[in-house]
């Protein structure tokens, strides 16, 4: 075992010591030091232990918050009590065009606001009435999704029947989604359920009028701070035609006509691999993972995508790479000296725990720990080779563990979620909130990298961190 591996293994054991036996045994399987060959697999995608302060959310968050919510021309109903929709209201920065309340609905909190009587007598009649009211008040909405909250699945409501009836009555698709928060172990099942509901109710319902040889779909990009637009720009400049965005700034029409694509390009594998596999099996559409974080990975990905197409696309792709070379070089020249050698600990969801590694490396930074909130073993399999041996890996990390790891390993930057953010601020550690880019972005593509670099620099090197000690307090510290 290498030196960091030994040190990290000891740190893991020390951190686990305080747990009651059952939780300790279980948590031990989720904490590992990296073996790039994948020899020490991390256990993942199992229930969080009660009471440990997991950062994980629920299936509703995975469906309404991640997959469906960004589809802008449909009304997404948080079906159940008022809270879920309140807390997930416009929180994810899925940028979208259109006019709010007319043909764009992503920033709404629309709910059936269950009361006691709905629990006792059921909410189906109310739901039908609600759908009619949506149709009347938002006539340009292309469809409705019913995002089930916990009680819906417990009181025996038949939202499928209501959805079927309303689809016929209103003449727009009304999609039932069984994403009750108690299902599964994290957001992840919600992604899967949402993918399946698109498959069953939307996919293939629209026809692309003029299919072409370069048609691709951009999948698993939620357009946080405009990410999908920055990615789309590259694909279009390569000569490809993006016929659908899943699901950032997405529309019902785009989802529906996706089977016309020649290739599905997937960024967030975790949340949308299901629909890609389905389209491969059913329509024979191949799919390809890519990584548009940081110039090294972006260029690799552009070339990999171009290989799928002909010489024309390959030529355009090299031209695109050349076009952005000066911007990438300038960015690295400016920021790399300020960030060289800085150490980062990541804890995020989706694709970021591995996809961001290359972008940090482009800036000379080193990822010394990473983990997934709701990853599966296939995510970890893709992660081991990205990182050196001995790096600490933590799955569904608890607040207790993450705080101990950070305290001991003392990174220069922590990149995680808003629940972690202020904890590390109190410790005086630079922190970036990497779920919604800390209200910045985009971070994808060539246009995103300068923003990413600037943001990491401003946070790592901000002068406010040097103010923590009062002058009369310094001696005590020494």
């Amino acid at each position: 075992m290498s030196e960091p591996a030994e040190r990290n293994q000891a740190l893991i054991e020390e951190t686990l010591a305080v747990y009651p036996e059952k939780a300790r045994k279980e948590r031990a399987k989720h904490l590992q030091v990296n073996d790039p060959g994948g020899g020490c697999p991390v256990k993942s995608n199992v229930k969080s232990r009660p009471g440990v302060m997991t950062a994980r959310g629920c299936a509703y968050a995975g469906s309404k918050g991640v997959v469906w919510g960004p589809v802008k021309d449909m009304v997404h109903v948080s079906h159940g009590p008022v809270g879920c929709g309140q807390y997930s209201w416009a929180g994810r920065r899925n940028y979208a065009g259109g006019e709010r309340g007319v043909d764009s609905f992503t920033t709404f909190h629309i709910t059936s606001d269950f009361q006691e009587r709905d629990i006792v007598f059921g909410g189906d009649k109310k739901l039908a009435q609600l759908c009619r009211e949506v149709r009347e008040l938002f006539p340009l909405a292309k469809g409705i999704t019913i995002q089930s909250e916990c009680p819906v699945g417990l009181i025996g409501d038949d939202i499928e029947a209501v959805a079927k009836q309303m689809t016929e009555e209103l003449g727009i698709p009304v999609v039932p989604v069984r994403c009750e928060g108690f299902r599964g172990v994290s957001q992840s099942l919600g992604h899967h359920i949402a993918n399946d509901s698109i498959r069953d109710h939307v996919l293939g319902t629209r026809q692309l009028p003029d299919p072409g040889p370069y048609d691709v779909a951009l999948i698993g990009d939620y357009n946080i701070g405009g990410d999908a637009w920055a990615s789309r720009r590259i694909l279009e400049e390569m000569g490809l035609r993006v016929i659908a965005q899943w699901s950032g700034d997405g529309t019902l029409n785009e989802l529906g006509q996706t089977p016309a694509a020649k290739l599905n390009l997937i960024h967030c594998y975790r949340s949308m691999n299901y629909i890609c596999r389905h389209m491969e099996e059913t329509y024979g559409i191949p799919w390809m993972e890519y990584n548009f974080f940081g110039p090294t990975r972006t260029k690799e990905s552009i070339r990999k995508i171009a290989q799928f197409f002909d010489g024309r696309i390959q030529e355009c792709s090299e031209a695109v790479i050349q076009k952005y070379e000066p911007l990438m070089r300038q960015t690295i020249e400016r920021y790399r000296p300020r960030l060289e050698g800085k150490r980062v600990m990541l804890y995020v969801g989706g694709l970021r725990p591995r996809h961001l590694v290359g972008a940090y490396e482009d800036l000379g930074m080193e990822v010394i720990g990473t983990g997934y909130e709701f990853g599966h073993s296939d995510d970890y399999q893709r992660t081991y080779p990205e990182l050196p041996a001995g790096v600490i890996l933590y799955d569904d990390v608890t607040a207790w563990e993450f705080e101990r790891f950070v305290e001991r390993l003392a990174p220069d930057l922590v990149a995680s979620g808003v629940k972690e953010k202020y904890v590390f601020h109190k410790m005086g550690l630079p922190f970036r909130q990497m779920h919604s880019w800390d209200y910045s972005g985009p971070y994808h593509g060539f246009d995103g990298f300068p923003v990413f670099a600037r943001d990491m620099d401003m946070t790592v090197n901000n002068p406010s961190w040097s103010l923590i000690r009062a002058p009369w307090d310094r001696k005590e510290e020494a």
Partner: protein, 501 residues
Amino acid sequence: MRVKDHNHLFAEPEYRELFETKRSFEDAADPAEADRVAAWTRGGEYREKNFARQALKVDPAKACQPLGAFLAAAGFAGTLPFAHGSQGCAAYFRSHFNRHFKEPFAAVSDSMTEEAAVFGGLNNLLEGLENARALYRPEMIAVCTTCMAEVIGDDLSSFIQNAREKGVIPADFPVPFAHTPSFAGSHLTGYDNMLRGILSHLSAGRESGPGNGRLYVVPGFDGHVGDLREVRRLLAAMEVPHTLVPDYADRLDSPLTGRYELYPGGTPLEEAADCGNALAAVCLQRWSTQKTAEFLAAERGREVVTVPMPVGIRNTDRLLEEVRRLTGRAVPPAILAERGRAVDAMADSHPYVHGRRVALAGDPDLVLGLISLLRELGAEVVHVVSTNGDAAFTQEAEALLAEAGAGPGAVHTGRDLWHLRSLVLTDPVDLLIGSSQLKWLAREAGLPLVRVGFPLMDRHHLHRYPIVGYQGALNLTTWIVNTVLDELDRSSDGRNFDFIR
């Protein structure tokens, strides 16, 4: 090198072109049709349809019970809020508070899933209590429920009893609880339920003593942590021994020291436990403290007074008058001078506020306080929406407005911010006051928004300033008048651009 980020990048011609290309795949509405619909949604016919809806809620300005329970629990020393039910709820409550307070919010859930839905969540609660105690070493764990646990009918009292019998928690370790169904009331109800649960648990079996001489103050659900500090400061200035229940000011507005503490500050559990021996109690809100007030009054027969939330001069006068009466303490000259300075500022600023038409939205107590302050400034309150208000609130709000000569019809309870949109677009105002959730309306109606209340997601640090007390009246006056003045400058065509005001 100037970095173009989300604020500027997408205005570039390349992106404008990209949006046009994308639009061709969207089956988007015809622009003329979209404009027609947009205009229609802003009119009177739409307003009628909008007010006729029965089942649909669009942008309701209320949260659910366990969120309020978490806030109440976070105000007690060493206390870990604990949600019995789905883990996603705890994640949502925590991130919601993180975003508003810009602070950590330590809390747990017992992560109930399908299995617990079938068999009940007892095992989750048992393991959850054991793990949480081992890792986070709280002095107290305050348990509330998510709607999942409520629907399946889990009984917290017997579950916690069971935990004690099994030795999961020691006999003397406090685990108060409250049933907080999300499908009844709002975050205010949950705050009240949890607070009553904590006080009744801690004070159970305590001997009635000669009285501890302390005034107990219940602030109510208040996103402005500065308010808690302000109330403490006023009482300290009057030399009134007091206890705030709960007091989350230090937990949710803690200094950056380089060390993270899980549980800074909070009401000492011993003081909370002694609430039955209080000199008296004052509740600074009504809709978030009703059950707590009943409990405090019933417990030992001490006097419990509920005053209007002390927003504005007269409401603060009323609070201090009650404190004077209950404690016999005088208001010191320094506070009187502070009052005078606030009134002085209001008199200075009145020309820019008097007669301005205002629409406001928020929790009932806050809205009543703001109406009172706006009347003191001479503003005209035209539309009031309180999603979680009730008939009693409507009556009070209408009475306040009637004193200023307004007719009925301005006050809307159970309504949401999409109703407020119809009201504002068909019967215009000059100014909006409420939470960050009003920002879309402010943009569409071209109106300035003074951000007050909860949640404040998109502006920094406002919640650290008090809106109660004379200092709060000064802060609100400052924000309101300067918002009006900023808007006058912004909308000036240059001819009428004043240097001095």
